[in-house]
């Protein structure tokens, strides 16, 4: 890792947004993560992938400050992570929407917890709702929305607090394929407009390649960084037909060859 960084060419590297240094974590007798080192650059889209139970979600939760690491150090920007901080937003696999709140109230929720006053809260939530394409659904309850729309609410809630870092835990896992592809393109569009640092946990190789600048492959339990893969596909990817190119197929296949050996 350190050696690789010394070979970075003349253009100065983007500042490090997230640094995970020698992080280990055990749950009782089960070792989940061992000596994990990951550096995420500011504005980078990075995916974590690996076999089931490799600890990728645990790693995300450690970065989010939701789970404490046993050893090692995590910093987000200048802040050493001891708990949840204001520069991160999390998008959850099961959406984690308040079933008793409308879309508007759900998107306002993060702002409410961070002490933003009511008028500004409503305004920022409305803007975030429009940004994810849900304008007009402010008064709907989550149960009235499809899975894809519910996750858009989850994304709007995450964006409403204007985080620098977006942590996404298998956000598309419980969404059907067609909806997922449209949603992925919308996410890329939002990301290129707002230039947030994104860490995405996924088990889909196509998704990892399609979205990311780099893919971190974790080994099975206990999770370690097995390999870091660059994805040199040109951007913007959401406009063209990147999935149909030979280069895309080659990258997915390369990722599959790595993962297959890890099973």
């Amino acid at each position: 890792m350190a050696a690789a960084e010394r070979h970075v060419p003349a253009t100065p590297p983007a500042p490090v947004a997230i640094a995970v240094e020698s992080v280990s974590k055990a749950f009782g007798a089960v070792q989940a993560l061992v000596d994990v080192d990951v550096r995420v650059r500011a504005g980078e889209f990075l995916s974590l992938i690996g076999p089931s139970g490799c600890g990728k979600t645990t790693l995300l939760k450690i970065v989010a400050g939701l789970v404490p690491a046993d050893r090692g150090r995590v910093s987000v920007g200048e802040r050493i992570v001891w708990g949840p901080g204001p520069e991160c937003s999390v998008v959850f696999q099961d959406f984690a929407l308040l079933p008793w709140g409308t879309v508007q109230r759900n998107v306002e929720f993060g702002l409410l917890l961070r002490g933003v006053e009511a008028g500004e809260r409503a305004e920022r939530a409305r803007r975030a709702i429009a940004k994810v394409g849900l304008a007009g659904f402010e008064a709907a309850y989550p149960a009235q929305l499809s899975g894809g729309m519910q996750q858009r609410v989850g994304l709007a809630r995450a964006l409403a607090v204007s985080p620098r870092v977006l942590l996404m835990d298998e956000p598309f896992a419980s969404i059907d394929e067609q909806t997922r592809r449209v949603f992925q393109d919308d996410l890329l569009r939002l990301w290129s407009e707002e230039r947030k640092t994104v860490v995405l946990v996924t088990h889909s190789m196509e998704e990892a390649i399609y979205l990311s600048d780099r893919v971190v492959v974790l080994s099975p339990r206990p999770g370690r960084v097995h390999q870091v893969l660059d994805v040199p596909l040109p951007r913007p990817r959401e406009a063209g037909d990147v999935r149909g190119t030979a280069e895309f197929a080659r990258l997915v296949d390369g990722l599959w060859k790595i993962l297959r050996k890890l099973q």
Partner: protein, 239 residues
């Protein structure tokens, strides 16, 4: 459907009463007339006022304290381990067996009726609240914490609303239990209110009056259950 069943029951009762099968089955029309008379001379109102006062004095603290204890037990394992055994034992114990203890503690006044109401309704509120809190979606808690929620915000914004349907169910069941506790207390211990009337008319073989009071108690129980259900629907609209 329910209405048809009630009307059928009423007609059957009336016919059976007219046939004069037993002293213990007066026709419904006569019971109704007696009920009207007891209402007119203030007997029912006086008895019901005393009963309702005991009901409120017992159930309001049982509900408030029950929700508080249930929340604490649901949220904190220490509290749960400390109280679980007691709650389970007292919930399944035949509460009438505790009546002598209650007499010793509160004497033979209406306070003891309120205490009986409390004992009958408290535990079901505790258990339901606790269940609701423990069933709270884990990822909602993570979500709130990720946005910086502390313990107070978690309680007010996640655990309490998530547990609300279960809390309301507990309060509904608790209200019904409270009416039972009220009647038991008034009949077995204190001889006040509607329970006293039941004992009095029963002992003096005023069967028509007895039925009039029984029907009043049933109506009261039904009314309270309906009110609780309406409150439930108003509060838990999102279900």
């Amino acid at each position: 459907m329910t209405l048809a069943a009630l009307v059928g029951l009423a007609i059957g009762w009336e016919l059976l009463g007219r046939l004069d099968v037993s002293l213990f089955v007066p026709p419904l029309s006569r019971v109704a007339a007696t009920w009207w008379q007891l209402l007119g001379d203030g007997t029912l109102a006086r008895a019901a006022a005393s009963s309702l006062a005991s009901l409120a004095k017992g159930f309001v603290p049982a509900a408030a304290l029950g929700v508080a204890v249930g929340l604490a037990m649901g949220r904190f394992a220490v509290v749960r381990h400390l109280l679980d055994g007691w709650v389970n034992a007292l919930m399944s114990a035949p509460l009438s067996a505790l009546v002598p203890v209650l007499i010793a503690l509160f004497g033979v006044r209406d306070t003891v009726v309120a205490a009986t109401v409390f004992m009958f309704s408290f535990f079901v509120v505790v258990v339901n609240t606790q269940t609701g809190v423990r069933a709270t979606d884990r990822s909602l808690v993570d979500m709130a914490r990720a946005f910086g929620a502390g313990e107070v915000a978690l309680f007010g914004r996640i655990y309490l609303p998530a547990a609300l349907p279960a809390v309301m169910l507990g309060l509904r069941l608790g209200a019904v239990q409270a009416v039972k506790g009220m009647v038991v207390g008034e009949m077995l211990i204190s001889l006040v209110g509607l329970g006293e009337r039941l004992i009095y008319y029963g002992n003096t073989f005023l069967i028509t009056e007895l039925y009039a009071v029984i029907l009043s108690v049933l109506a009261l129980a039904l009314l309270i259950a309906q009110a609780a259900q309406a409150a439930d629907r108003a509060l838990v609209r999102w279900k």
